[in-house]
Each structure stands twice: as C-alpha cells, then as structure tokens.
C-alpha cells in the first residue's frame, strides 16, 4: 500500500511517500519557511537519489501541500506514482489527549476532537490541523488517518500517569502525564520483536529515544507502561535545549527572583536549558562530544548530567518492569553516538547488561540497525521510523492487515 505521510508544523510540512509492503519510502521531502516569502521545498528520491530544491512563495499550508502534491505526482521529478495510487494519507498529530487512544480515520468528529486538544498542545495541534484540512481539501477521495504521539502511551496505568496534585486539576484541566514520542516508541517495540526474533508477549524492554527531544519508555510485552515525558514534552530526560526534570519550586523561585513572566519562564525551560543551558556551548551532541574531547569541562559536565539522567531512567524502568530483557536506542543521538550509548550502559552488569564495544562502535550511521550485547540483556540500535510507523498505522486502521501495531504479533 502507498501512503503519503504528512507532519505539519507551524511553518513547515515534512512528508514521505511510503510503500508499506517494502517498508521504505519512495520520496522524502519537506517544505520550510511557509508564509515568509521565500519558502523552500526539498525532496530526495530514494530510488535514484535525485535531489530537488525549489524556492517560491507558499503563503500557508494549503499552498505548501499543493506544492508537495504537484511535485509528488510530477512524472519526471516525482515519486513516480499517480496520486490516485495513494491508498491513504497518514497525519502526525502531536496530542490526542485522553480521547484518542488509537490511530483513527479522520472525519468531522475526529477533527473536532483534535481541536479539543489544542488547549493541551497549543504549539502543535493547530498546525497539525491546518495540514489535515489542506490535505483533505486536496485529496477528498482518499482516507486520511490521524496518528497521535500520545496514543501509544494510553496504556499507562493510573499510578504512572497521575501527578500527586489535587485531583480536581485532573478533572478540570486534564492535568496528567500523557507521554510523547509514542509513534517512535511503538516503532521501536515492533522492531525489537523483529530484530530479536522471539515472542515479545513477555518481553520487558526499555526504549530510549534520544534526539533533539529525548524520552525513555518502559515496554511490557510491547505496550507502554511508563515514560519520562509527561503533561508536555518538557518532563524527564535532559534534552538539547529542554531542561527535563526540575524541582517545580525552582521555577517559582526563579520567576520571583528574576521577575520573569510565564512566557519567558517557558522559553527559559524549553529553549535555553538542557545541554545548551548547562554547557553554555551548544545543544548539539556532536559539538559537545568534540568540545569534551578538547577537555572542555562544561561540555563534560553537561554530558555527565545527560547520561546520569538516562541511567536513572534505566534503573527505574528495570524496577517498574521487574527486570529488563532489552534496551533499545533510537533517534539522532541514540543511533549515531556509540560513546553515549556505552556510557549509559556502563557498570550495569547487575541488570545483565554488557556492551559488545566493537559491535557498538560499528552501529554509527544513518539507518544502521542491529544488536551490540554480550550479556543476557539484549542491546539494540533501531533506525528512526516514525514516518514508516505512521504509514503502517494508516494501513492497519484501514483494515488492510489486522495488527501491525505494538509488535505483539511480530516475530
């Protein structure tokens, strides 16, 4: 089945046309700078490596998706498929709240439901919706499917998703932990099954998505039972520019002492913290590893806090799961930084974790996948596959195959 996968941001649209049988994209592309005069459309065709870059004026998502579709169906430069061959459009939607525990086919009620979640994700859901609206306008005959970042974590038990705050806040403002990166963790769960080749019903696994954002997820039989992100993607691990866990009293104290308003405190935590804030150098792992190599103490400090936080999550999730059978890394850092993986896993022999250094070092490139353990606990690198997962989810929702979801039937 051919699925067009769309990820619509505030001024960008990323897309792929994916063949779900072959589990690979035909084209990968995106539009940036929508609405600012010089919009840029780029596309990479996998088959022959053809690269395209165009600039032009695209005032909104309607324009942008129009341009994407025109390029995709272009007989020479496109995906070499007709739009009529697309069986579905899969849309990434950041927040599904408690209403959406599964991917769903989009209709008016679903649009309304996504709109209802804007309050929970004011920076994302409106743009996801703009993309949905534009794509449905242009491709009304094709089924559209919404795949939510939060849905995979709908299996979190109440003891994991509640904050110890007045219960009325949960009722009144839906304050609870939702978790994010769900599509990525779902993909990891599925790939663990494939790569290890055994049954996953009893498998206790920890998925570590380490990219610009970072989160850990405890997987029991392929289902999420705990994750580090919470009400927003700010909770949990140290990220590029996000703080992760902080004593909430710190924020109140800093706001009072520095006389900063809510919006600026938000910016402080989301854009000026994490690796960037702590190192004062960069939020980019590559820069920090390089600086650390030169003996920069702040880079070393930032990385040590980053790694320490991940190790705490591994320990905690081993307890949550009652043991651990597999630890999987994905995301830009998870896939490309063997030295970080190694540090996260050092001296964890008591969990059956033992790194095969040579195998670990070999797993360091785009799309590389494999295992690198010597101990009883499997250690894996999984190539990022959120877009593929969205396509597979679209296929599953449309009933083409019964279950490609949480990896329960895999292997």
């Amino acid at each position: 089945m051919l699925v067009l996968v769309l990820n619509s941001g505030s001024s960008s649209v990323k897309y792929q046309v994916i063949d779900t049988q072959a589990e690979r994209p035909l084209v990968v592309g995106g539009v940036e700078r929508i609405g600012s005069g010089g919009a840029i459309l780029t596309q990479h065709r996998i088959g022959d490596g053809m690269q395209i870059k165009e600039t032009g004026e695209l005032v909104d998502h309607v324009d942008a998706i129009g341009a994407v579709l025109a390029l995709v169906e272009d007989p020479e430069r496109g995906a070499l498929v007709a739009l009529s061959e697309l069986a579905a459009v899969g849309h990434r939607v950041v927040h599904g709240g408690e209403a959406f525990t599964e991917s769903v086919r989009i209709d008016a009620a679903v649009v309304e439901g996504i709109r209802d979640c804007i309050e929970l994700a004011p920076l994302h859901n409106p743009h996801n919706l703009a993309g949905i609206r534009a794509a449905r306008d242009r491709l009304p005959e094709i089924p559209h499917v919404a795949v939510f970042d939060t849905a995979f974590h709908s299996t979190l038990p109440p003891k994991a998703f509640h904050y110890a705050l007045p219960y009325s806040l949960y009722r009144r403002h839906r304050i609870r932990r939702y978790g994010f990166h769900g599509t990525s963790h779902r993909h990891v769960a599925r790939r663990i099954g494939r790569l290890l080749g055994g049954p996953v019903e009893e498998l206790r696994a920890i998925s570590l998505h380490l990219g610009n954002g970072a989160s850990a997820c405890a997987l029991q039989g392929g289902h999420s039972v705990e994750t580090t992100m919470g009400f927003t993607p700010l909770e949990g691990l140290v990220m590029g520019t996000r703080s992760g866990d902080v004593d909430p009293a710190v924020i109140l104290h800093v706001m009072a002492r520095e006389e900063i308003p809510v919006a600026d405190a938000n910016s402080l935590l989301n854009k000026h913290s994490g690796l960037l804030g702590l190192s004062g150098i960069s939020g980019d792992m590559r820069d920090l590893l390089e600086e650390e190599g030169r003996g920069n103490e702040r880079a070393e400090l930032a990385l040590s806090v980053y790694v320490h936080r991940i190790r705490k999550a591994i320990g905690a999730y081993a307890a949550v799961l009652g043991g651990v059978d597999a630890v999987a890394f994905t995301g830009g850092i998870g896939e490309n930084a063997p030295s970080i993986r190694k540090r996260c896993l050092e001296d964890l022999g008591f969990l059956g974790i033992d790194v095969d250094s040579a195998a670990n070092d070999r797993l360091a490139g785009e799309g590389e996948e494999g295992t690198f353990h010597r101990g009883s606990t499997a250690l894996l690198v999984v190539a990022s596959g959120e877009e593929l997962m969205i396509a597979l989810e679209a296929e599953r929702v449309l009933g083409a195959i019964p279950d490609s979801g949480a990896g329960v039937s895999a292997g």
Partner: protein
Amino acid sequence: MPHAPRREIQRAGVVGAGTSGRGVARAMAAAGIEVVLVERTEGSLERAVLLLRESMDRDIARWAMTESERDAVWSRIMGTVDPAKLNDVEFVVEAVPEDFKEKVAVLQALSEVIPDEAPFLLNTSTLSVTALAESLPERRRPSVIGLHFLHPVTRIPLVELVRGRESGEDAEAIARNLASRLGKQVMEVAEYPGYVTSRLTLALINEAVNLLSEGVATRDVVDHAMKLRLSASHGPLALADEIGLDSVHRALESLWRELGLPQFRPAPLLRRMVNEGWLGEKTGRGFYNYDESGRRSPAELDFTSPTLEELLDPGAGPDASDAD
C-alpha cells in the same frame, strides 16, 4: 460577527518607531508577519533599529527569546523613511505620538499611499477614533478603527478595541485577526478618553507621584505596597519608568483636558522630571536608575530615606510655577 479572512496576515505596516511602534512591529514579526516600519527621519529610524536590536538582545540574556528567534524577527522587519513602501500592505498600525494634530497629519499623508482597502488601526488611548477618522475623506472612514496596544507590547496579552462611529466590519475583522495572531485578548471598550486601562493606570501613576512628592512614603514603599496590593509585577513608579515619563505626562495632559478630572492633572514632580530629561528606562534615569542594558540598578531597596532628595538634585524641588 464579521468573518476573519481565510488567508493569514502576510504583510503589514507600522508607522512610528517609538516605544509602542517598535513593540508592535516586533510582536508582529515574531508572529511571522512581514512588517514595513516607517519612521520620519533617517536619524530616528537608525536609533529605533538600534533600540529594537538592544531590546531583543536584552530578552535573549533574560531567556525570553533565542538568537535564531531574534534573527527571524529581524529578517521580517523592513525599516524605511519612505511611506510609499506601504503600497502593498494589508493594513497599517499607526503608532505616532499621542497628539491629535500629529496623528491627523500622518493619517492624511498615509491615505495617499496605502491601498484603499487597507485599514488603519489607530494605537491611541486618549484620542477620539471618530474625530481622527473624520479628518479623512468619507470613503476612507470605515477603514479606521482603534486598537490600543499596551506597553511593553511583547509582554502584555491585551488590546483594547475601539470602534469609531463609522468603523466598518472589515477593519474590525482585521483588528481581531491581528490580535488573535499576536495572542492578545481583545477587550472591547466604548470610545471614551482613556478607555479602561489607560484611565485607571494613569490615575494610579499620577497619584503615586503625588504621594512621593508629598513625602507620604518613599519610592520603594509606594511601589512595593502597590505590587503586593495588586499582585502586580511592577509598582506604579516602575511602570511609569517602563512606559516612559514623557508618554505618561502627555497622556495625563490629554485626559486632564478631555475629562477635566483632578486626578489627571499631571503631578508637578512628573513634569519636572520630564523637563529634566529623566524619561525612565529609555534614558537610564527616571524614578529608578537603569544600567546600559536597561536593567534596574541593583541598589538596595530603600524604605526609609527622604524621597525628593533621592529623585532630584539637592535643593531642586518641584517648580511651583508648573502647577497650572
């Protein structure tokens, strides 16, 4: 209720690059709108550009924005002294000083260059939108509406919307669309000098200055008391410094003239400070002192010392002849 246009706002003009004009331009650019910022002279434009840059750098240091956000804002603001550059904007926010004659002159000049259908959003708090609209030819009047931004524009999530007698639906739709794009709540108020926020704020500031000159309390007592009383981030004197004492003074005079209420008669000390060129944050000296980056100098809070000596040179009391 008029319908908002389907397409998002792309390109708008701001006329006047003073404190509020800069604030509006920056807020719009941050929301992704291309802004043509018009100032009268090259010199004042240059200064405005510098101040805009400084205010953003200050915000980066205060974690309120990132360098790439600043660069994005920067890339969307085109400063010019040529009003003809407004020939393709969707609307113009007027932000020239709060002076009737000055605003009329600007409106008349602009109506020659900007597209006929493009509304004028008047950023005024004390002048009559209807009277300003009447300075324009009849066909142009429906496109005039009041949209009062509060200083600092990037921080205060509120605008006052004021319909003049002839303000039309298209103008209102654009004004509401802009407000929502900038994340501002729209408070609709009747056309009456000072509306809600300026009338209450100016009365508070003016009385705070009077208290100070009457020796009832020190600057820090006045500000802290009212901060605590109103659960506010600023006391009235710090707020006056932030707005600019010249703007406060001008607005007070306008309300005093329009409403004739005694609470708006500018406090003599305020007038004195304006005459001295102590205009608040922007000159580094007002009720407080400010360092080069606009931060309040970290002097120990003082709840005891006499006040006038602290504010004015020894012996230089308020000029009695100023008291109307």
